[in-house]
């Protein structure tokens, strides 16, 4: 263990700056490294052979991927027959493109025009997805946060709101897809509804819990200063839970993204999900990976921006 810095193994101890950046870097580099190994070292996995010369095996074509087993059987057969054996090199299946292919796709996916003129470009698909998320999340916040705060503040509201919410949150949001389409049509409305249903019930419960965690001592102090009722909510409870509420919203926004994929499949398929399914159909898996990476990057970057903004907005909050 002496190879690694000691601070790494002290519970809850802060890391030195170098270790910190090293580890943050590694956290991305490590998966990339494994992916590169599998992609670029022919001895690792590579269950297929990509044909470079079909030789006398008529049914093989250049660029085709065949199972190793079949290829070598074919080579043996052709050699024993004295014919020209096919040639090729080890390759991974089409669904695992190499890092550099995905990197190229990250660029070309944006510059390649859509197959049909009425189809959206990638950036248009993305923008559409972001809009759907934003609306779904907006409605969830608009309904979920006030209900959660009420339930967390007043026992009466908690008893009225929480049991049903608790029940409803176990119903899988995608199950409402067909219903949402029947009621709201085939365009964006049912998609927004799915994201709303997927997040709002969790949100109510999480916000209620966060609100309950506000120190009762602060509430009591406010009461002895003559503050109660709506004024107490506005001046003490809401500002008191705001930093934690903000953190909850960051987590729930991530949640909303996971519902996006389902939401976009119902009605007319649209957005980034449409792009992904379309590309998968054409077997452009480099584009599929590129799109998935873009979602990840958007999610991560939004969260980092929100975290940074949170530190600005709540300078008094030193619990991160």
């Amino acid at each position: 263990m002496s190879l690694l810095p000691k601070t790494w193994f002290v519970p809850r101890a802060p890391l030195d700056v170098r270790s910190r950046y090293f580890l943050i870097f590694s956290s991305f580099l490590l998966p990339l490294f494994i992916w590169s190994l599998v992609s670029y070292v022919p001895q690792l996995w590579h269950p297929k052979i990509e044909i470079t010369d079909s030789g006398d095996a008529g049914y093989l074509r250049v660029g085709m991927l065949v199972d190793k087993e079949i290829f070598y059987r074919e080579v043996e057969k052709k050699e024993s027959e004295g014919k020209v054996a096919p040639e090729g090199f080890p390759s991974n299946p089409v669904y695992l493109p190499a890092p550099h292919e995905v990197a190229t796709a990250l660029y070309t996916a944006f510059t390649t025009p859509p197959k049909r003129s009425n189809e959206p470009w990638l950036h248009e698909s993305l923008l559409h997805s972001i809009q759907v998320i934003a609306w779904g999340f907006f409605w969830a916040v608009l309904i979920g946060v006030p209900l959660g705060i009420l339930a967390g503040t007043y026992e009466a509201f908690a008893k009225l709101i929480e049991p049903f919410t608790e029940f409803f949150r176990y119903l899988p949001a995608p199950a409402f897809g067909a219903l949402a389409v029947a009621i709201l049509g085939i365009y964006d409305a049912p998609k927004i509804a799915i994201i709303f249903i997927g997040t709002v019930f969790q949100m109510i419960l999480i916000v209620a819990n966060t609100t309950r965690k506000l120190s009762p001592a602060l509430v009591e102090a406010a009461l002895t200063l003559g503050c109660n009722g709506a004024s107490l909510l506005k001046r003490v409870i809401v500002p008191g839970v705001l930093p934690d509420l903000y953190r909850d919203m960051r987590i729930l926004l991530g949640w909303a993204w996971t519902y996006l994929i389902v939401a976009e499949l119902i009605g007319t398929s649209s957005g980034i999900t449409w792009f992904i399914t379309q590309q998968a159909r054409y077997k452009n898996f480099d584009n599929v990976f590129a799109a998935i990476l873009i979602i990840g990057v958007i999610g991560l970057v939004t969260d980092l921006i929100l975290a940074w903004l949170g530190r600005r907005l709540f300078p008094w909050n030193n619990s991160k």
């Binding site: 001592a217 406010a222 002895t224 200063l225 003559g226 004024s231 003490v236 500002p239 008094w316 909050n317």
Partner: protein, 308 residues
């Protein structure tokens, strides 16, 4: 209390009541009553089990009086303060503060808690303005008043700081300023200085007496530090435990103002010893149950075989 020398039930501290002190208590008794507590009973229920915490409390505190409450741990001191503040319900009896019956919390009864309860999202100034704004005072007025209060507790430099940037003692001073700024008739304080080191605590006691002398406020101060109780109080309310009842209301036989050296005087020590005997009855022998069943756990060949 009977100060008659020939009475066999003579109070142990009777000798300490000089005519001036007796006269001062006479004047205090003639002031209007600020807190009136009648037959106050309070039960806590925990898993169907009843716990009678306050078993009929009776006392009065007069306007601008400084009254401390002492008693064994768990006797219901905090509960008494919280009930008067309106933060706890009560079973029966009633409380009249500045002429009106207590039913729920209100700005006429300020409270300073043992835990630090400043609003962490507000600057010191905003914290002190809290009660003023609540009562409908306009912003500019409230700000001016708040700054005066902050100045009074000696924290002008920190008006724009957030609570987490202040030490515990400073936070408690802000909490006192915040409570007083709302202009309560009565200030309830529940062991406000118990988290402070002795030096800071002594300083805070001075501050508090200084403030109390200069404004119209009646203070009910809970503490388990008998030095603090004797030093601060006009009268000390001594509670018994299980259930909490008034054991005695002691008029502290010390003149005012009280310089800090007074704590070394015989009168002070005698008063404290007397309170001690009320709160903690002398321990003659350890209870069998309380004795720890310890055996020697140091090896016989240890370098330090015993502590003597």
């Amino acid at each position: 209390m009977n100060h008659n020398e020939h009475n066999p039930n003579r109070h142990p501290l009777a000798d300490l009541y000089t005519p001036e002190i007796t006269a001062r208590f006479e004047r205090i008794r003639n002031r209007p009553v600020a807190i009136e507590v009648n037959q106050l009973r309070k039960t806590f229920y925990h898993k169907k089990q009843e716990n009678l915490v306050l078993g009929g409390i009776d006392f009065n505190a007069h306007q601008r009086e400084f009254m401390c409450v002492v008693g064994p741990s768990g006797c219901g001191k905090s509960t008494l303060a919280r009930t008067i503040a309106g933060l706890e319900t009560h079973d029966s009896g009633d409380m009249i503060v500045a002429g009106s019956h207590v039913s729920g919390p209100g700005p006429d009864r300020g409270m300073v808690f043992q835990k630090y309860t400043l609003f962490p999202w507000m600057s010191v100034k905003k914290n002190v303005m809290f009660g003023l704004v609540q009562s409908g005072q306009d912003k500019a007025d409230a700000e001016r008043d708040a700054l005066q209060w902050i100045d009074l507790v000696g924290l002008s430099k920190y008006a724009e700081s957030y609570p987490h940037q202040l030490s515990g003692g400073m936070q408690q001073r802000v909490a006192i300023a915040r409570a007083l700024a709302a202009q309560p008739k009565v200030l309830l304080m529940d062991e406000p200085f118990s988290a402070l080191d002795p030096q800071n605590r002594a300083k805070m006691q001075q501050y508090l007496l200084e403030i109390w002398q200069n404004i119209d406020i009646t203070i009910l101060f809970i503490t388990h530090d008998l030095d603090e109780a004797v030093y601060l109080s006009d009268r000390v309310l001594v509670l018994d435990a299980h259930p909490g009842r008034v054991r005695e209301i002691l008029e502290v036989p010390l003149p005012r103002p009280r310089p800090i050296e007074l704590m070394l005087s015989d009168e002070f020590q005698a008063t404290k010893r007397y309170l001690e005997s009320l709160v903690h009855p002398p321990i003659t022998h350890l209870d069998v149950e309380e004795k720890l069943s310890m055996v020697q756990m140091v090896p016989v060949d240890s370098e330090v075989p015993n502590i003597f």
